[in-house]
């Protein structure tokens, strides 16, 4: 191990994790490694700094566990980038919209509103997007992210400010995306997908920090919000698959040996590494476009239901976070400021108050963090703290 593994648990989780380790010790036959073993494996990767961090909701994933944060020193030429550390659903994330409606306003219109959402937002396997798209359009969109949405009229300008990275990855390059990935993207642009993805109409159940909530436009209990949980669909999956195959082949030439084949990686500054980062950037943009077009469609649905414009309904984006991404960020390592490539898989960035990268609106409370609960269960909105910067590379769970 190059660094320690740090696993954040409470008493219940600690028991579960030890049980998992003991079970693994007696039976190593399953192809599915326990999450803790994966955390340890990641700590052996070249160039990793600080620690291989596991957030409380950690569980097994492909290569890296889901809920793992791993940062690599960009100034170390051996430091690697690994697609498994981002996940297949690149920039899977959560967006929260507010409204100025309350439960009493919608309680008699629930069925109607739900049907309108279904009418507007394409959902399910095999569903097709409503945004008419050809390859030229897609290339433009992949490079520009939410800037493309604003240009096309799907997003409000202010939506960008309340999105991580302003909804646009600057290292995106559509030339690094394969034709097959683009084909999958064209069909699925603006679709929700299936499985654990959702667009959910929610009401505020409890406010624990009134000041921070007010900064987000949440005033009272029973206020209606819309949460969208979705990612980059087949495009992201294909990019991840392509990169894994590419890197598996190239690892030898960089003399990299990994303890688990699924940790396929290459040096950050290698051709393969850079290709992946640029393609990943394009996938990030695609996911932001998807969440933005669903924002647009949700606004339309509400507008039709209540006969008011989305603007009058105050349907602003509170925030949009990503929980499957790799980003270049500045962090303090052993007292020195360093540029790190931070892989967050199944974990969310959690920057503190006054951090330069968070929107003006949230400078006082810190970056909003959206923890989406499974459909039908509670979701939570948190704010980032200095402690996260110290101990978990500015990250928390998802």
């Amino acid at each position: 191990m190059n660094v320690e593994g740090h696993v954040y648990v409470n008493d219940n989780l600690r028991t579960l994790i030890y049980e998992e380790i003991n079970a693994y010790k007696t039976n190593k036959s399953s192809t599915f490694l326990p999450a803790v073993v994966q955390i340890a494996n990641v700590s052996t990767l070249p160039g990793i700094v600080k620690a291989s961090i596991a957030l409380p909701d950690v569980h097994a994933g492909y290569g890296f566990a889901i809920g793992n944060v791993a940062a690599f020193d960009m100034s170390n030429e051996k430091a690697v980038v690994s697609p498994g550390g981002v996940g297949f659903d690149i920039n899977c994330g959560v967006r929260l919209l507010r409204t100025n409606l309350f439960y009493d306003d919608i309680k008699n219109k629930q069925e109607e509103l739900a049907q309108l959402m279904f009418n507007h937002i394409p959902v399910g396997v095999g569903s097709q997007g409503v945004i008419i798209c050809n390859q030229e359009y897609l290339d433009d969109a992949l490079c520009s992210g939410m800037d493309w949405c604003v240009k096309e009229g799907y997003s409000w300008v202010e939506d960008k400010a309340n999105c991580e990275d302003n909804g646009r990855s600057l290292y995106a390059d559509s030339n690094c995306v394969s034709i097959r990935a683009k084909k999958r993207g064209i069909t699925q642009m603006g679709t929700l997908g299936a499985g654990n993805h959702y667009a959910e109409i929610q009401i505020v159940d409890e406010i624990y920090d009134k000041k921070s909530a007010k900064l987000m436009g949440i005033e009272k209990k029973n206020q209606v919000c819309v949460m969208i949980h979705s990612g980059s669909r087949g495009l992201g999956h294909q990019i991840a698959t392509d990169a894994l195959i590419d890197m598996e082949k190239s690892m030898k030439k960089y003399k990299i040996n990994v303890i688990d084949k699924q940790l396929a990686c290459t040096p950050i500054h290698s051709k393969e590494g850079q290709n992946y980062l640029k393609a990943m950037g394009a996938a990030c943009n695609f996911a932001w476009i998807n969440r933005s077009s669903m924002t647009f469609l949700a606004r339309q649905a509400f507008s039709k239901c209540f006969n008011q414009s989305p603007d009058d309904l105050d349907m602003h984006v509170i925030y949009d976070v990503s929980h499957n991404i790799a980003k270049i960020e500045d962090h303090i390592v052993n007292g020195k400021l360093k540029k790190l490539l931070v892989h967050r898989k199944g974990s969310t960035r959690a920057f503190p108050p006054f951090h330069p990268l968070i929107p003006l609106d949230y400078q006082y409370c810190g970056q909003p963090i959206l923890i989406g609960g499974t459909m039908g269960t509670y979701s939570y909105v948190l704010t980032g703290t200095e402690k996260a910067m110290d101990v978990s590379i500015g990250s928390t769970c998802h």
Binding site: S30, T31, F32, H59, A60, G61, Y62, I66, G87, F88, D89, C92, E111, E112, A114, Q115, L116, F118, N119, G124, V125, G126, Q128, I132, K183, R184, I186, T187, G193, A194, G195, N196, H197, G234, H237, Q238, T241, N324, G346
Partner: protein, 473 residues
Amino acid sequence: MLATHFPSEDVLLVTASPVVKAVTNFKQISKILEEFDVEEQSSTMLEKRFPNIKVIESGVKQLKSEEHCIVTEDGNQHVYKKLCLCAGAKPKLICEGNPYVLGIRDTDSAQEFQKQLTKAKRIMIIGNGGIALELVYEIKGCEVIWAIKDKAIGNTFFDAGAAEFLTSKLIAEKPEAKIAQKRTRYTTEGRKKEARSKSKADNVGSALGPDWHEGLNLKGTKEFSHKIHLETMCEVKKIYLQDEFRILKKKSFTFPRDPKSVTTDTEMWPVYVELTNEKIYGCDFIVSATGVTPNVEPFLHGNSFDLGEDGGLKVDDHMHTSLPDVYAAGDICTASWQLSPVWQQMRLWTQARQMGWYAAKCMAAASLGDSIDMDFSFELFAHVTKFFNYKVVLLGKYNAQGLGSDHELMLRCTKGQEYVKVVMQNGRMMGAVLIGETDLEETFENLILNQMNLSSYGEDLLDPNIDIEDYFD
């Protein structure tokens, strides 16, 4: 689609029945009664939104492909630069012209069926396709005798294992809350049947869309929930009207209470069905759900189309038939291009819609001299439906179609809850059948399209202790 791309060109929509459109403002008043406001008057709305679209409500009498023109029943001729045939398919009726044999194919015939059902105590359903599967479970308060020529139910969709899983639902008499399945709803404009032009009014109609039975109250005269008896490996030998049956002096059976005992029926029924397994049952009417046949007839005369083995118009990878400037989409065509390894044609509304969309793009591209790539929706077969109150998702080569013996199946099943079957070839996922709320459809869709090598996982892939959905997230 075409209207958007060519705002200055005329687009003619020739339809023998009222235009289909999506229903909005759907409200459910109670479990049975539903009310919906149809906000949009579709043909006029279409014309208003796209001034270059004109809707002509008339059947087609003849296609003169060399002259690039169609002759409609109202006596007019229309010349075209490009033509797309979307006439769909018509149900194969086991017996034409018998008033007691109903085919269900469009909203009119579905409503007719509902009307007949309210007076019925027992009906027979012949056939094993999607309509039969959907219907059998939906009917309440009426005895159903279901006759299929196969060994197991739903064999176009399922293998014996999945059929077995579903059959247990049929036997249970408990009424269940329906699972929610929200989608865009389709219906036709609310015009009275009498107002429509007459000549072929009985033979034409727009195809049933998804969830076609949702708006219907399929209830017979009796008070119980389900009562279904299945007769396998048989077909209809003969159908007798009541008078004919009386003369025969043969005996018919009552609704079987258990598989062993059969008793003679003393009640008289309007119609009797003799099956090839020698059994005779009386009933109020018969539903023929024995598949469809492509509706190519009106267009064949004087035109030399290449036809597929199933009778449909052969189309290439640009939905182009063998005749210049004539395209075809939906049930009327037979996909004759080099098919993707995980796609097959099935006459389903999902494919019809995808084909129509793609055909329009091809026609547009051809007019502009542009090239166009095959639409990605033909890359992976995907169909979501509901059978027996279970959500059913079919992906890729879900029944290992065309894979020969070179494949493996993996199965995970919890009776009454979920059924997961995966088809693997060389360590790669080629297809899947998912019954129940498995939440696995997106993961498997991606695994099939990624064509990732999963051989290292072996059987562990379906280990219920592993959250496979999250693992590949």
